[in-house]
């Protein structure tokens, strides 16, 4: 699994995240949700940089 080196954390490029997190593979495990929610509309933009992990 690719790791983010500590030295790179402060150099992260800012992205506005859209759409939450769904159906993502991390390492050799791919999250398999029991059900996939239907999007009602584009969620509000999150100004925070990329962070967090997918649901398991």
């Amino acid at each position: 699994m690719t790791q983010t080196p500590d030295s790179a954390v402060d150099e992260r490029l800012p992205l506005q995240m859209v759409g939450g997190t769904a159906l993502v593979c991390e390492g050799d495990v791919c999250a398999v949700p029991d059900s996939v929610p239907e999007p009602e509309s584009l969620p509000e933009l999150d100004p925070a940089p990329v962070a967090g992990r997918s649901e398991r």
């Binding site: 699994m1 690719t2 790791q3 983010t4 080196p5 790179a8 954390v9 150099e11 992260r12 490029l13 992205l15 506005q16 995240m17 859209v18 759409g19 939450g20 997190t21 769904a22 159906l23 993502v24 593979c25 991390e26 390492g27 050799d28 495990v29 791919c30 398999v32 996939v36 239907e38 999007p39 509309s41 584009l42 933009l45 940089p49 990329v50 962070a51 967090g52 992990r53 997918s54």
Partner: protein, 216 residues
């Protein structure tokens, strides 16, 4: 003023990522629905770089061994993934999948990009891995696949054996780290918006429309 804006989409994914193929279909549908001109560039992300090229087990065995899951649990997971893929018109066959190391497949994607045919190669690699039961880890198999698409087989073998595109793969992985990408598929829209995962096509349609509007 640019009257026909083209939105750049950088996509990080791995050949052995089931959601990446599903995401590819959803992105393509969303892009088509948006009517926005997009320039797509695929980037390398290795989900399991320590997997041996000649791993002999099935995906079921691999996941059971690596994650301590029961075979029943793994079978249920794979059945669910297969069902979701079928909803996108993709006939996944995990009984035929060859779990392997994908670094050479990523190098081949960079080779294809240099020839202006990366999307075609990406589609071929995903299909051969998830649908056709082909091997995407061995150079000979990758060269055969590329030759089938009309590439010069010897040129491909030379490129992959020499590691000509190894640095490009590493740079993609480093760029993913700079974005903080931990999982794939991951989409970067015009270097500004991030989309994580195989979102529904409507999400892609909306963000592409928004990004194109901001260019205007």
């Amino acid at each position: 003023m640019n009257e026909t804006p083209t939105v750049k989409v950088d996509i990080w994914s791995d050949v052995q990522c089931p959601w990446c193929y599903i995401g590819k279909r959803r992105f393509e549908r969303g892009a088509a629905a948006s009517g926005v001109a997009v320039e797509v560039e695929y980037h390398s992300f290795e989900l399991a770089p320590d997997t041996p090229v000649d791993y002999e087990g099935t995906p079921e065995q691999y996941l059971a061994e690596r994650k301590g899951l029961s075979h029943d649990q793994v079978r249920q997971m794979l059945a669910h993934v297969t069902e979701l893929a079928a909803g996108e018109g993709l006939a996944y066959d995990f009984s035929a999948v060859h779990q392997t190391n994908t670094v050479k497949a990523h190098e081949l994607l960079h080779f294809a990009k240099e020839h202006g045919r990366q999307d075609e190669m990406k589609e071929a690699l995903l299909k051969v891995y998830f649908v056709d039961g082909g091997h995407v880890g061995r150079i000979d198999d990758l060269a055969d696949l590329a030759a089938g698409l009309g590439f010069d087989r010897d040129e491909v073998v030379n490129a992959l054996e020499s590691g000509q595109y190894s640095a490009a793969v590493k740079e993609d992985v480093a760029q993913a780290a700079r974005y903080g990408i931990q999982g794939v598929p991951f989409y970067v829209i015009d270097g500004k918006y991030g989309v994580s995962g195989a979102q529904e096509s409507a999400v892609f349609e909306e963000i592409l429309t928004k990004a194109a509007g901001e260019q205007g």
